[in-house]
Symmetry: C2
Subunit: 329 residues, 2 copies
């Protein structure tokens, strides 16, 4: 970030003017771990806040192989055709291990790449989930300030990435295919209760009867969870992302969902709760990092860990003693 560094003002103006290259550099800035970059990032994000919040944020999850990229490519084109400006971001804590397959190859989204009203950002590689999730949240804000009114956040269903995406989006879409057994897997992974819409992809490749069965399996699985008061019932739709069929219904559901939660106030309430929750989680994250990275504390923590392991000090008393060392105001 050192060379040709922009000022906060230059970043802000570029972003508000919708300049993609500045937006890209701003996202690189919020992803940076350098202390100086972080200061500039804070100032920048705070300065663009008044211009944020006006997009619809759609989280998309699903197992590898269900066609998430193809779906985002096709459905993104559908959104462009109804005059949306579409930003695509990815959150992927496993990108280091998997070699960054998620959005790593932008060219997989052939219909979107290069279009004027589209911004695609691959997943940041090699940072731990806490960091990824926070920078993705800031990237959403930057995209909104740049005028994108539909932000898609893609995740592979690894670890807590889905929870993170749920907590920064307005709606979570679960993409599946026939035969994936995702109804049960979804319950097992605890994501079924987070889902707002199920879409069965590649519906052109399966028989109508089987599609019906897959849908009823999902309906059964979703039935295990309590009814939703503020949000519309989860629907189970289907599409062929490759052939661009089924997008109309999906678009209609998202639109009516958006209308309902806007009218009953849930949309705003949820956004506020998400912000407070991000604040609190970030604070705990900072305290944990501080304890782990402070050399003086680290030695003490290790000493306490040994004492606790050897039954010489109770875990709770050790915690109290470390807490006292923190010397909180």
């Amino acid at each position: 970030m050192a060379k040709n560094r922009l000022t906060t003002e230059e970043f802000k103006n570029g972003i508000l003017a919708g300049e993609k290259s500045v937006l890209g550099r701003a996202i690189t800035l919020v992803e940076s771990k350098s202390v100086d970059d972080r200061k500039l990032a804070n100032a920048l994000v705070n300065s663009i806040l008044p211009y944020t919040g006006k997009s619809f944020r759609l989280g998309i999850t699903g197992a590898p192989g269900v066609g998430k990229s193809t779906f985002i490519d096709g459905f993104g084109e559908f959104l462009l055709n109804i005059d949306k400006k579409v930003a695509v971001l990815a959150i992927d804590p496993s990108s280091k291990i998997s070699g960054g397959s998620i959005l790593g190859d932008k060219t997989r989204m052939e219909k979107l790449v290069g279009k004027p009203n589209v911004f695609i950002r691959p997943s940041p590689a090699g940072i731990e989930l806490g960091g990824v999730a926070q920078s993705t949240l800031e990237s959403i804000l930057l995209c909104e300030a740049a005028g994108y009114d539909f932000v898609v956040v893609e995740t592979v269903g690894v670890g807590q990435s889905e929870t993170a995406v749920k907590e920064m989006t307005d709606m979570l879409l679960f993409l599946s295919i026939a035969g994936a057994g995702d109804d049960l897997q979804g319950i097992k992974r605890g994501i079924m209760e987070m889902i707002d819409l199920v879409v069965i992809n590649k519906s052109d490749q399966i028989e109508k009867e089987i599609l019906g069965e897959v849908k009823s399996n999902f309906a059964h699985a979703l039935h295990l969870f309590p009814p939703r008061a503020a949000k519309p019932d989860v629907e189970i739709l289907s599409c062929s992302a490759l052939n661009a069929t089924g997008f109309d219904e999906i678009g209609q559901f998202i639109s009516s969902y958006h209308q309902k939660v806007s009218r009953n106030g849930f949309f705003e309430e949820n956004r506020k709760a998400q912000k407070i929750s991000w604040m609190n989680r970030s604070l705990i994250h900072l305290v944990e990092n501080h304890i782990q990275n402070n050399d003086k504390l680290k030695v003490n923590v290790q000493k306490f860990e040994s004492l606790v392991s050897d039954n010489k000090l109770s875990p709770l008393d050790a915690a109290r003693q470390i807490f006292e060392l923190l010397n909180l105001v």
Copy 2:
């Protein structure tokens, strides 16, 4: 605790001598929220630590109505007959709401109540989970110092109580009955992957075929999770707690489980990891409490919450500013 207050030494000696009344008062002490009691509790728990760790700690969970009390009563008697000293504790964050039904009526354990080698402690009512869980962990230690070599920790499956019990015991037993649909509910609640043994209770009341079906449903549900390297495969057994049938098999499984994890080192490793994890969680808990209860901070946190809600400050920057207010060493 003010009147007839014992000293640390008196507490310790009474506990090591196996005096139940002193043990009971010591548990009341660790459950107390008073600052003075807490200091005495810390000193006491630290002083008895060398005498702890020698029990087998069995967590028991299951939905209301599956017969947990009857099971503990019957299986406890089985344990007494093989010369175990049995302590029964409960962890129940909902006891305030439900009126303290869990172990609230000690007389429900007719076979155990009043026996010399048995100690039963009802759930502490009206404290939040963090507090309950911590005092239960300390109660386990006190029971061990008093010579109880089999500690049963009962929980109703509410919120995070099962996770808390899992994190303070050596083995988690899931009690169920036919027709409870617990195989799916268990996956949904995310506890299936924590379970070490499933026991279908009231097996005398169901047909053999149905029992087989229930067992195979559980086997199917458990099959969704990866194989266990360090721990024996989960078994699905059955019993009639009321008629005291099936206990032999359960006792044998627990015994062979204990042997396997002791030999391969998992038992000790897991205990150590549990202690470190309690230390870390207690620390975070203390920091959170501090932030919530410090008047000066509280005002600031509320100010930041407003700024964040109104898009005047980014959640992450607000967290950073609160973090700076903490003025950590």
